[in-house]
């Protein structure tokens, strides 16, 4: 095929091809669920979010109010239904707001702000424990 070409040029072509292929590969890796340096697959995102929020909300005022309402009304499933719709709505609103903010502010700034707010939540929870 390209045997009559000067070898240097051929090498250069081959190299650029290799580089292009390598870039394509890394792109597909980051797009799929391959974990990065911090192991952020979709499953770990789900699990870490679930576990922290579960423990944070356990025994919190929402759980107590559903508890009280279901005890008073004698129909726990209806109370749970209303609470469930409300919780899905608030978490959906939260995620949509987060994504919207991320499109408006620089990624690095979003990260720092998010990190600080998570620390604040951590402090709030610790304050609850101490009191």
């Amino acid at each position: 095929m390209k045997t009559d070409l000067p070898t240097q040029l051929l090498e250069a072509e081959l190299k650029s091809e290799h580089i292009a292929i390598a870039f394509e590969n890394t792109d597909t890796i980051t797009e799929s669920q391959q974990p990065s340096a911090f192991g952020q697959s979709s499953r770990t995102v789900f699990a870490t979010t679930f576990v922290t929020i579960f423990f944070a909300e356990f025994g919190d005022k929402t759980q107590l109010s559903t508890l009280l309402m279901s005890a008073e009304s004698q129909s726990p499933w209806i109370v749970f239904g209303g609470a469930a719709i409300a919780m899905v709505t608030t978490s959906l609103l939260g995620v949509l707001l987060g994504c919207w903010i991320a499109t408006r502010i620089a990624p690095r700034t979003v990260e720092k702000l998010a990190s600080v707010s998570l620390l604040l939540i951590s402090m709030m929870l610790l304050w609850d424990v101490v009191q």
Binding site: Q40, V45, T62, S65, G98, S117, L118
Partner: protein, 97 residues
């Protein structure tokens, strides 16, 4: 179907959860995540499970897991997430691209 009760529990929970720590966490975690859908599913599932336990198990749930312990665990979890987000090596790469 008791629509009044359904509406009452919806409004009570909606108002108490609006701007509360779970929603703040959902906002904070979804912004830089590759999987905001998973953040939503994780948050919603955790909230549903706690209120399911609240509605069905009642006071028994509080005896099973002491509240102070769970809050302390959650505080450590959030601190961990905060630190991970603060020194995220991925993001700086994305920013350069």
């Amino acid at each position: 179907m008791d629509w009044n009760l359904l509406g009452l529990s919806f409004i009570t929970v909606f108002l108490s959860e609006l701007g509360d720590k779970s929603q703040l966490a959902a906002i904070a975690l979804s912004g830089r995540s590759q999987f905001p859908r998973m953040v939503f599913l994780g948050t919603a599932a955790a909230l549903l499970l706690t209120s399911l336990l609240g509605a069905l198990a009642g006071g028994w749930a509080a005896e099973l897991l002491p509240v102070k312990t769970t809050k302390a665990i959650a505080a450590i979890g959030f601190a961990f997430l905060a630190i991970r987000l603060w020194c995220n090596p991925d993001a700086s790469q994305h920013e350069e691209n």
